[in-house]
Structures are given as structure tokens and as C-alpha cells.
Symmetry: C2
Subunit: 315 residues, 2 copies
């Protein structure tokens, strides 16, 4: 085991993803950062790269277990579980897997919007349960095309969402730290002003401490009774208690969510609502995209171990 160079960390890795990594490099596997301290110290001393997948915190304490660690390659675009500041202070590079998943996440955002507005979950159940034949039509619902949409965070994914919704003739608004070059979309410096201007608020922020609670109670209430919150970013970006309060009280019309504060044990208040479409954090969950993510993670490991420039560095 002395030539082991790679630590694969994350019980959410699929078998084929683990195999891809461990076929390429001598590797050991742990379920999560909490199991790192349990590894033999000689083994730990041989680790030069970590391939990480998951949402459990990976901080300074874990990094210090590996004296030769030079890179943490994250599977996913969001690397908020990794303490990048601590990594930089130790000259440990961090990489992620941007771009390859933007399409999938944007697709699911649009899917959530249509499914919520057009009550597709109810529609499917109505047919599948044969209530259509017994009880007649479902209630009329809500038009998507031509609606006003606010994208919170116009990064790679936000832009992909906006591009798609422009083809639905939606009126595109966005908020971000600074105004961006766009095909005439309306910039709002803050999320409350954005929420006041639109019916659908689509959150496409990065995660992490900086964006925690960015979509505030005030912003949610500013959406008003026709407002719908779509979140495909991180559960942390929204004041989830305020969102639940507004959904329960009918202060907004609904939500389409792929992410939650406490995954997968989400707040049971969500399960009692009939104005939400809920997905199990599967934004990037197509075979094609997960394969591309795994390949990009491996490409970063390989680049580091060969002394070549990292493909998608973060720090």
C-alpha cells in the first residue's frame, strides 16, 4: 500500500465511478471525511490526492491528516463542503467539475417550473389513479410562457436557465453582485427588488457561507401571492423556515425544489404541502452528466499527479 496516491472519499460514489478512479491509480476508499482519522498513518502519508464526493464538511483537521496532500478534486460544481481557505493556506489545490453539469441543472430548473405551474404531479396522479374517468378534469392551472422570471445569480447555470426561458418568451430579470452583459435582461442589485419584479424566482447561486440565507424572508414575501420559488442551488441559499411559512400560509403560490437545508432528511413540513414539486437533489443526475463529471474529476487527479496544470482549479 506504500505507493497509494489517491484517497477516494464519499459513500455516494457509484461503483463504476470508484472503479474508474481506482483503475487509474492505486487508491483507498473511505465513506466520508469522518473516517479519515481512522486510516493508518503510513497510508495517510502516501496520499497525494483526494477524490471527494459529498456534502459532509472537509476542513483543516482532515487536511492535516495527509502531509503530502496536494489536491482535493471535488465531484460537483459546488465545493461548499470543502474549506478552500484552509486548503489554500496549506498549498492544497481544490478542483471542481463546472460546465459539464450546467445543462442538466438548467433542464431540471425548467422542468420544475413547468411541473409546478402546470400541476404535472397532480395531473399524473389523476390519470394513474383513474380519477380522470371518475371525477373529470383537474383544475385549470398556470401559464409558464411569457411569465416574468428572476434569476438569482447569473453564473454559468443561471445563464443556461435564462437562455432556455427566453425561448419561452419569458421576461428575464436577474440579480448578481454586478451587472452583466446580457441580451437585454433586467438587472436588479438586490434580491428583494428582483422578487418584487417577477412571478418566478429561480435560485442559481453558489453555495457556502457567503450566500447563506441570501433569499431572505423579505424577498420571499416580496414575491407575493403569484410567486413561485424554484431552487436548484443549495438549500442554504434560502431562509427555508420563511419559505415554508409562506407556502403554508399561501403568501406565495408554490415552489419547485431540488435542494433543502437538511438532505435527505428534509423538513417534514414540505411533505404536507400540495403546491410544491420536490426532487431529491438530482440536478446533475443524468447518466451522461455524471459520467462527464467523473471523467473531469479523474482528469484533475491525473493532471496533478503528472505535474500538469489542473483542468478546473478553484483556488
Amino acid at each position: 500500500m506504500s505507493d497509494t496516491q489517491l484517497l477516494i472519499c464519499g459513500k455516494s460514489f457509484k461503483q463504476d465511478e470508484r472503479d474508474r478512479l481506482s483503475t487509474a491509480y492505486p487508491a483507498v476508499f473511505v465513506d466520508g471525511p469522518g473516517d479519515m482519522a481512522g486510516l493508518d498513518s503510513t497510508l495517510r502519508a502516501s496520499i497525494r490526492a483526494v477524490a471527494y464526493k459529498g456534502h459532509a464538511p472537509f476542513g483543516a483537521e482532515q487536511m492535516d491528516l495527509f502531509p503530502q496532500l496536494g489536491v482535493i478534486t471535488n465531484y460537483g460544481v459546488g465545493y461548499d463542503a470543502i474549506d478552500v481557505e484552509a486548503a489554500s493556506a496549506r498549498s492544497i489545490a481544490v478542483t471542481n467539475t463546472p460546465d459539464v453539469l450546467s445543462d442538466d441543472v438548467a433542464d431540471l430548473a425548467v422542468g420544475l417550473m413547468i411541473a409546478q405551474a402546470r400541476t404535472m404531479i397532480r395531473g399524473h396522479a389523476h390519470v394513474a389513479s383513474q380519477r380522470w374517468a371518475k371525477e373529470g378534469e383537474i383544475p385549470l392551472n398556470r401559464k409558464v410562457s411569457g411569465s416574468s422570471v428572476g434569476i438569482v445569480g447569473l453564473g454559468r447555470i443561471g445563464r443556461e436557465i435564462a437562455d432556455r426561458l427566453a425561448a419561452f418568451k419569458c421576461e428575464i430579470h436577474y440579480s448578481s453582485r454586478s451587472e452583466k452583459e446580457t441580451p437585454g435582461w433586467t438587472y436588479h442589485p438586490d434580491v428583494v427588488s428582483l422578487a418584487q419584479a417577477v412571478d418566478f424566482l429561480v435560485i442559481a447561486l453558489v453555495g457556502g457561507a457567503e450566500t447563506k440565507g441570501h433569499v431572505t424572508r423579505e424577498a420571499i414575501q416580496a414575491l407575493g401571492p403569484r410567486g413561485v420559488v424554484i431552487n436548484i442551488s443549495r438549500g442554504t441559499t434560502v431562509d427555508e423556515g420563511a419559505l415554508l411559512d409562506a407556502l403554508e400560509a399561501g403568501e406565495i403560490a408554490g415552489a419547485g425544489l431540488d435542494v433543502y437545508e437538511n438532505e435527505p432528511n428534509i423538513d417534514p413540513r414540505f411533505l404536507k404541502l400540495d403546491n410544491v414539486v420536490l426532487q431529491p437533489h438530482q440536478g446533475s443526475g443524468s447518466v451522461e452528466t455524471r459520467t462527464a463529471m467523473a471523467e473531469l474529476q479523474l482528469a484533475n487527479v491525473a493532471a496533478f499527479l503528472k505535474g500538469e496544470p489542473l483542468v478546473t482549479p478553484v483556488n
Copy 2:
């Protein structure tokens, strides 16, 4: 009742739609064409316009009950329930409600595609039943963006669907009676060649005798094991038995359907499938669109009774 001019026919009319019509003109109401013969002959003689909603056949026999009938205004773009040839032979005009519903139907087509490929019905049930916490993630699924799509029938609705899917970077193919001007989409003269070229086959034909069974067993089989059928047109446009056979046998990957041969008593074979997303013929079912359709139907009634040109004539 002698000044009654309008017959409102169709039990699927909502109360507010009936009220809109009967507030505008003296009107009588029947549930369907089968009840027309039961109306008093003096009353029948006073009817000059019919506002129709439904899928029950409205043929020569019913038309002949109304000696002064001059227009049948259909609620909906698809007027396959009305025998237009018989109407024309009697100098009865027929109108429908095109354009105002194209956006909604196209939105639902895209929603069906995303929901089917990204297993959103399963995803929602996984979260709502708390299986996410107990059993972990759902299986990986299928990327939508960048896929190859074949639009069967590039009319108003087909074009709206293609425009949206172009923003998902899909490769657009289509079949129609003749090649059309497009932004570089690939024309196929027949549906089998179209199906061979694509993964998603989206049916956007008009209904009626001419398109009955247009998507044949051969076309469905030409799609192959990654093929998905999306139908938002009419159940009659597909060989439904062949579609069910292919879905049951896994000869194609799945389907997203808003329409069926026998609505609302759909073939129970559909209910046993786990690779389908089923909607209760709600393509145009938003409040906004149904209001626009009702207003357009009334505008056609009004134009006829005032002796003005019809807004959206069919024959």
C-alpha cells in the same frame, strides 16, 4: 325564447365560460350533440350560432336540426369532432381557437420531455414518501439538453416546441407534408425516417381522419431502445396498441402523453407502466389560455352575428 340565437353545447364548459357566452347573447345550453334533437323545434329554428366544446362527434345529422345555423365556433384548436365537410356543404362556417393555446401546449410538451427523461414523477414520490432518507438516491436518468428530437408535424404548435427545444441545444428534425423554412432543422419526408434519426419523437399533428394512425408501429419501432414518444396532439395520431406493446416490451425507453385514444377511460395497460408520464389532456389548461380561448370563441360568435368577418375561420 324566440330571440335565442346561440346554442352552447358541451358539458366541459366551465361555468364562467358559459356565463361569458350567455351574458353576451340569448343562449340555451345542452351537454352534448346527442341532446340537440331533444330541443323544441321552434327553439331550434332560432339558433344561428353554436359554441361547441368537446370531443363528441358533431355531424350532418345535428347540423340539420338547425335550419338557420350559420356558424359552429369550436373551443380549441383541434376541430376534428366537427364534420367540416358537412358544414361547408350546408354553408355553415366553422371556427376554432388557434395560436392562443400554442404556448401552453408547447410548454407541456417540453415539461413531459423533461419529466420523463429526468424521472421527475419518481423523484417527487421518492421525496414525498421519505424514501430518499431511508433508501438513498434514485437511479441516474437521462439527459435532455443536446438530444435529438423529431417533431411530427411542424405547424404552429410543432414550431413552438422546436423553438423551445432549440434553446436546449437539441438537434431538431421534423416531418411534414412539405419541407418548411426553418433555422437549419432537418426535414424528413416520412415519420419512419424521422424516428430512425432521433431519440425523442414529439407528435404535434392535427387530429382527424387524415392523421389517424400516422405514427405507425413501424415508426415506433424505428425509434429504438432509447426512443421516447411525446404526444400532445390527439390520441388518434398514434397506433396506440403498438405504442403500448413497445413500452411494455422495453422496445422504446418511454413516453410522455397528454392524449389517448379513449379519453378519459384510457387503456388500463398505461397504468402499469413505470416509464411513462401521463397527463389528463390538459395541454391548453392554464387559466390564462382557457380565458383567451373562450374570448376568441365569443369573438367569432359576435363577428358572425354582427355580419362581420370571422376572426379565425376554418372552412
